[in-house]
C-alpha cells in the first residue's frame, strides 16, 4: 500500500484552470473517480493534464462495497481502466452501499455492523482489489441511522475489514464528528480505537445542522471541532495525505489553500512535539 505524506485538495470544476496552470501549492489532488469514468472528451483530457502536474488520488462514491448482491463488474472494469490510465496515489471508496438489485441511490447508505455485513463487505473488497490490482482505502461514513445494538462498533468493523482484506483507511474526521454527534458516541474514543497503522489518507470537511441530525454537507469551512479531532489523531498516525474536501458553495481556491495551511500548521506542531 502506498505511503505518502502531504497536503492536498479535492479538484473541483471552478478551480480547473488554476490547477492546470500548474502553480497551486498542493502535494496532491483528489478527484471523484466517477466524474472521469467516461469514454472520452474533455473530462478525460483534463484529468490527463492534471496528472501530468500533480499526484492524483481517486475517490469513488459508487463502488457500493456493502451491496448484498455484490459489486457491479462493469463498474470495476471502468475503474480499472481509469487506474491504469493515471496511476493514482490511492483508490478509495466508502464503507457504505449505494446499489441493490438494479437500483442506484447515488447516496452513501449505511450498513448494520453485523457479522453477515462484515463477510459481504470483505468479499466485495477482495473482489475489487483483485480487479484493480491494488489495495484500496476505505472511508468511514457519516451515518444518520444507528443500528445499535449491532454485533460490533464501526471501529471494530473497520478493524476487521482491514485485517481480513489488507485494505487501508481513509479517515474522514468530519464524518467521525457527524456520526458521533448523531449517535451519541465519543469521537475521541473512536479515533483512539482505530487501527492507526492502516490510515493512509485524511479528509477534513464541514457539516450543517439539519432538523434532527448533523448532515455531512461539505459546504462550509472545517469547523474547530473537526480541527481539534484532527490535532488529536494526527500524532497517533504514520505518514498520511491530508486534504480539505469541499463539494458545495465552493469558495475561491485561495480560501481553500488558506484552510489547508491550517492542516499544515497542526502537522508542523505535531512533528515538533514528537521530535
Amino acid at each position: 500500500m502506498t505511503v505518502f505524506a502531504g497536503f492536498g485538495l479535492g479538484l473541483r470544476r471552478p478551480h480547473y484552470d488554476e490547477f492546470l496552470a500548474g502553480r497551486v501549492a498542493v502535494d496532491f489532488v483528489e478527484v471523484i473517480s466517477e466524474n472521469f469514468m467516461v469514454d472520452g472528451g474533455r473530462p478525460r483530457r483534463i484529468l490527463r493534464d492534471i496528472r501530468a502536474l500533480y499526484p492524483v488520488a481517486l475517490h469513488g462514491v459508487s463502488m457500493s462495497i456493502g451491496s448484498a448482491d455484490g459489486i457491479d463488474g462493469f463498474y470495476l472494469a471502468r475503474l480499472r481502466s481509469l487506474v491504469d490510465a493515471i496511476d493514482p496515489l490511492f483508490v478509495s471508496d466508502h464503507l457504505s452501499w449505494t446499489r441493490i438489485e438494479g437500483f442506484s441511490s447515488h447516496d452513501l447508505l449505511p450498513l448494520p455492523y453485523t457479522e453477515e455485513a462484515l463477510a459481504i463487505v470483505c468479499a466485495n473488497i477482495d473482489r475489487a482489489q483483485d480487479a484493480l490490482g491494488r489495495a484500496m482505502l476505505i472511508e468511514n461514513p457519516s451515518t444518520y441511522i444507528d443500528f445499535a445494538p449491532a454485533d460490533m462498533t464501526e471501529c471494530e468493523f473497520l478493524t476487521q475489514v482491514c485485517a481480513r482484506t489488507g485494505c487501508g483507511l481513509l479517515l474522514d474526521v468530519n464524518n467521525v464528528f457527524v456520526s458521533a454527534s448523531n449517535h451519541g458516541f465519543d469521537p475521541v474514543a473512536y479515533l483512539d480505537a482505530l487501527p492507526h497503522d492502516r490510515v493512509r489518507q485524511i479528509h477534513l470537511a464541514g457539516h450543517s445542522q439539519g432538523t434532527d441530525l448533523l448532515i455531512d454537507t461539505h459546504d462550509r469551512p472545517v469547523p474547530q471541532s473537526v480541527w481539534d479531532l484532527y490535532a488529536h489523531v494526527l500524532p497517533r498516525l504514520g505518514a498520511v495525505a491530508t486534504m480539505i474536501e469541499r463539494d458545495d458553495d465552493i469558495p475561491p481556491l485561495a480560501d481553500l489553500l488558506t484552510e489547508l495551511d491550517g492542516a499544515r500548521r497542526i502537522a508542523g506542531r505535531t512533528l515538533r512535539e514528537t521530535a
Binding site: 472520452g40 472528451g41 474533455r42 448484498a68 437500483f103 447515488h106 444518520y144 441511522i145 448532515i215
Partner: protein
C-alpha cells in the same frame, strides 16, 4: 433482518416512501430515513436541472419541476453513474406533453449533447486525408460520438435561441419530418437538423455501406447528375462537420 432484506426495505423507502419498510428498519430510524430520502431525490432533481436547462426555460420552472417529480417517481435510477439518469427524461416529457412534440425533442437534444460530450475520442478526417481513397470500395467510419434523433418540430431553432439568451420562435411542426444529428467535434458537442435523405444516407454509411453504393442509390433516386452531386455534397458536409473518423 438479513442485509439483503434491509437493503430492499431501504430501496422501497427511497423509491416510494414505503412506511411498512420504514417500520421494519426501525422506529428510531425515521429522522435518518428522511435524510437519506431527501438526498436521493435531491441528487436526481439536481441532475435533471443541470442536464435540461433549455427545457426548463421553455416550459417554465414550475412545469419542469412537476415533470422532474413525475420522472423520479416513474423511473428509479438504475445506473452507477448519474450521467445515465437523463436518458429517459425525454420519454417522460413525451408522455406529459403529447401535443407539444418540441418539448421532448428539446430534451433529446440536451440529453444527446451531454452524452456526446463524454463519448469516445476519435480524430476526424479532413478532405486532404481522402486523397488516395479507392472510391469504388471505400467505406467510412463515423465518429462514435454521433447520435441521430427524430425531428418533427423546429426544436433546433428553439434550442439555439434559448442557448443564446434570445426570444425563441413559437413551436412549429415541420412540413416534412427529419432528424437531428448530435456529435462532438474536438471537445465541442454540436447538432444539426437534417432531412430524411441525409438521415438514411448517414445510417447506411455508418452501417458499412460503401460510398459507391450510396452514390448508386442516389443516382437511382435522383438521376445521375443530381444523385452524384447530392452524395458529394453530403460527404463534404460530413467531413466539414468532423463526422468521418476513418476510411477502409
Amino acid at each position: 433482518m438479513s442485509l439483503l432484506a434491509f437493503q430492499r426495505d431501504m430501496r422501497a423507502w427511497l423509491i416510494r416512501a414505503d412506511e411498512d419498510a420504514a417500520q421494519r428498519i426501525g422506529r428510531d430510524a425515521v429522522p435518518g430515513l428522511a435524510v437519506y430520502q431527501n438526498n436521493y431525490r435531491a441528487q436526481l432533481v439536481a441532475c435533471l436541472d443541470d442536464a435540461f436547462e433549455n427545457v426548463r426555460d421553455w416550459i417554465g420552472g414550475e412545469a419542469f419541476h412537476a415533470g422532474v417529480v413525475t420522472h423520479i417517481d416513474r423511473v428509479p435510477s438504475s445506473s452507477w453513474t448519474l450521467d445515465a439518469y437523463p436518458r429517459d427524461f425525454p420519454a417522460t416529457l413525451a408522455m406529459l406533453y403529447p401535443d407539444d412534440a418540441e418539448v421532448a425533442e428539446l430534451a433529446w437534444i440536451e440529453m444527446a449533447l451531454g452524452e456526446a460530450f463524454v463519448a469516445s475520442d476519435a480524430v476526424a478526417l479532413r478532405a486532404d486525408d481522402l486523397a488516395d481513397v479507392d472510391w469504388d470500395r471505400a467505406t467510412f467510419r463515423i465518429t462514435p460520438t454521433l447520435d441521430i434523433g427524430c425531428l418533427t418540430t423546429n426544436a433546433t431553432a428553439i434550442w439555439s435561441a434559448l442557448s443564446a439568451g434570445e426570444v425563441p420562435p413559437a413551436a412549429e411542426t415541420l412540413a416534412e419530418p427529419g432528424a437531428i444529428l448530435v456529435w462532438r467535434d474536438g471537445e465541442t458537442a454540436r447538432f444539426r437538423a437534417i432531412d430524411r435523405v441525409e438521415q438514411q444516407a448517414l445510417i447506411a454509411i455508418r452501417s458499412g455501406q460503401t460510398f459507391s453504393a450510396l452514390c448508386a442509390g442516389m443516382v437511382d433516386a435522383h438521376g445521375e447528375q443530381a444523385g452524384i452531386a447530392c452524395a458529394g455534397r453530403m460527404l463534404g458536409q460530413w467531413l466539414g462537420d468532423g463526422l468521418i473518423v476513418g476510411v477502409d
